[in-house]
Symmetry: C2
DNA sequence: GTATGTGAATAGATTCACAGCT
DNA sequence: AGCTGTGAATCTATTCACATAC
């Protein structure tokens, strides 16, 4: 991980939980709740209460002993840490099944990540309108990024096109990438990339299932 | 995390990397490579070589000193650990944008997870054919699970329907669940659930982006 | 010479447990 | 009495470094 030092560093594991807290807090705010204890928030987020308190301490979010945390304050503090309330337009490379689904996913817009641009390598797809946006040729990616002021890229190409897609995004100035292609890709260390691997998730479940059922499956290969 | 203890336990972090090794090994096998060193495999998987060796040691996968690991053997061993070569049919609850994309996702079938059943709560969606499968009412989930012998459930409903979807899956006998709904859900401890949270991933990227670019909209000062 | 296998060292994350504040 | 805030303990994971084997 890169050490920059402008803002104080927060552990990765904590950062990964902040969006979950945020969701829980939004629910509470919606139902008019004004104060929340670490125990309740922990329950909403599915984690340990001490963990919540330690996480919040990294944000310098203050609670009141004997009482709890103020929902509105916490909300605001977490939002600031996660990038302010500024909107970060997203460009998607690869408008196949997954790319289309992602471009229509409400959760992105709601979270401050509007889908601003779509590009694809397939001439059959280019020119079509998907979720209100016209798909443009991947060769024009730099233009699309410039016009939309996108700061985040999503790669939803087949595995064999992922590295090229990432290279193009980096070339176009994108520094934050979410990769759905089932491939490990290389990026310069000033680029932040996260992998979301759908098949892998199922395979991990498969491991646990196998352990549970414990059945020795006598197929092709000998052990 | 759940632990049972029938088969020897492998660290979670290792299990999460096995599918990545598997992919790398498949590539090597396809190009006719027969031996691989921990260094090369590490490169393919984007991890440290010592890490690879330690991971493989948990599988009792043997390499040859001075030479490396046999690609075919490794492939077979990892496959066994990840649930054998048996196929685990999947039922998807929620056939919206995301559910449709997932039902068409080739990677699942290739990984041994064919999509065998689709259910939805919306009468407008029920009866339609998606990716060759007719969508059935969520009320018939137990039937669908029984008929398809599904062992894995994917939840792709809106957040507010996720808990109910999960409950139904558990009720129908499913013990492995992948949840795409942006909600924390409760399950009995004999059920294994994994969360894939799309908006959260972007928010985590947002944190790092925010750190990189420095604080609020104070544009560059010195230049 | 080359690459594995692993104990030891390090780093990171979680949980405990309790002092301290309201 | 109740809940936060945090040092200490614990657990997990990664990386190093080198003896061991081919």
């Amino acid at each position: 991980m890169s050490e920059v030092g402008t803002i104080e560093s927060i552990p990765d594991a904590t950062v990964a939980r902040l969006p979950v807290y945020l969701r829980g807090l939004l629910e509470l705010a919606d139902t008019g709740v004004e104060m929340v204890s670490s125990v309740s928030l922990a329950e909403l987020a599915g984690v340990n209460a001490a963990n919540v308190r330690k996480d919040l301490s990294y944000l310098h979010a203050h609670g009141t002993r004997g009482v709890g945390y103020e929902v509105g304050h916490l909300l605001a503090e977490i939002r600031v840490v996660l990038g302010g309330s500024r909107s970060s337009p997203v460009v998607i490379v690869g408008v196949g099944n997954l790319g289309r689904a992602l471009s229509r996913y409400d959760g992105f817009l709601a979270g401050g990540f509007p889908i601003a641009g779509l590009v694809d390598a397939d001439p059959m797809v280019v020119g079509r309108k998907v979720a209100g946006t016209v798909v443009r040729p991947v060769g024009e990616l730099a233009d699309v990024v410039a016009q939309t002021e996108a700061t985040v890229g999503i790669v939803a190409t087949p595995a064999n096109a992922a590295q090229e897609a990432v290279d193009r995004l980096v070339q176009a100035g994108i520094r934050s990438i979410l990769n759905f292609a089932p491939a490990v890709v290389a990026v310069p260390n000033f680029v932040d990339i996260r992998q979301v691997d759908l098949a892998t998730e199922l395979q991990i479940l498969g491991y646990h299932q196998h352990r549970r059922t414990g059945d020795s499956d006598t197929s092709l290969v000998s052990g």
